[in-house]
């Protein structure tokens, strides 16, 4: 019994280390690739490994939604737009004044240090091992029940935010069609303007 328990714990640790390392490495890759297309592909790997981490903290529905919404819909939209505007290379660590790079690294590093120090000082003592949770914690039925009872206002506000963003996206996408005369639109974009 104890051997099986520790074997399960070791398996969880192995999966955690693999997913956490993939998560951090792909996060660094997103920032350091010069081609946005490769950055978007690395972000898909980042989202997938984050979904594995969510599964390990028994957030099953959020993990599924992460893969469906983020790695599915949002990243496909990203890849379409990157393919539409064409590859625009940019040397990641060159260009711009060097003091700007230095200040950016300093600001991000101090932000990270601040978060770590706050976690260690304020919550380090109380963040012990957590006990086990119920079997339906994080399941779709449980999420749906508390979403439609305790957190109904958040649910409705989320729907309004999504509606406003969709309307804004349509307005932004169709803005140039009204101002630019038909002859000024190049042939490759006329189709896009008619479809949208």
């Amino acid at each position: 019994m104890i051997a099986a328990y520790s074997a399960g714990a070791a398996l969880v640790w192995v999966v955690w280390v693999a997913a956490g390392f993939a998560c951090l490495a792909s996060g660094v890759a997103v920032v350091s690739f010069s081609n946005p297309f490769y950055s978007a592909l690395a972000l898909i790997g980042n989202l997938g490994s984050l979904a594995v981490l969510y599964l390990l903290v028994s957030a099953e529905f959020v993990a599924a939604a992460q893969v469906l919404v983020y790695a599915g819909a949002v990243m496909v939209m990203f890849l379409f737009v990157i393919a539409y505007v064409g590859p625009r290379m940019e040397a990641p660590w060159a260009g711009g004044p060097s003091w700007q790079t230095f200040a950016a690294v300093l600001a991000a590093g101090s932000l990270l240090t601040e978060i770590v120090v706050v976690i260690a000082l304020e919550a380090g003592g109380s963040l012990g091992q957590d006990g086990s949770v119920g079997r339906d914690f994080g399941s779709p039925g449980w999420i749906g029940r508390i979403f439609l009872t305790d957190h109904l206002l958040a649910f409705e506000i989320t729907s309004i935010v999504l509606l406003v963003a969709a309307v804004g996206g349509v307005i932004l996408g169709s803005h140039t069609r009204r101002q630019v005369p038909e002859a000024a639109i190049p042939d490759d974009e006329r189709e896009v303007a008619q479809v949208s």
């Binding site: 399960g8 714990a9 969880v12 640790w13 955690w16 956490g20 998560c23 951090l24 996060g27 997103v30 920032v31 946005p36 950055s39 972000l43 980042n46 984050l50 981490l53 903290v57 957030a59 959020v62 983020y70 819909a73 949002v74 990203f78 737009v81 539409y84 505007v85 625009r88 940019e90 990641p92 260009g95 950016a104 600001a107 991000a108 990270l112 978060i115 770590v116 976690i119 963040l127 957590d130 006990g131 086990s132 949770v133 914690f137 994080g138 999420i143 508390i146 979403f147 305790d150 957190h151 958040a154 989320t158 935010v161 999504l162 963003a165 969709a166 804004g168 932004l172 996408g173 140039t176």
Partner: protein, 102 residues
Amino acid sequence: MTGPGIVWYLGVAAFLFGTGALGVLLRRNVLIVLLSLEIMLNGANLALIAFSRHVHNGAGQIFALSVMAVAAAEVCVGLGLVVALHRRRLDLDVDALSELRG
């Protein structure tokens, strides 16, 4: 208790947030700035979900789902702006887009 404690998850979340902040501050391509913003949002999401498991409260997971919806909205508007910039033949460099500067 099996597996790593919450502090490990918070460490990964903090590192992700720092990486995303570095990308937002350092990179000049609008698309990569948007991708780095997604990394920051995901770092915050990981911390929310880890705390939700720690305190046995579902509000953290609800908050994470709301953050995902807001991120989808942000990507919708941001990519709409990118497409509009591209149609106006403007450069997709955040340093070059300074028309609103006072």
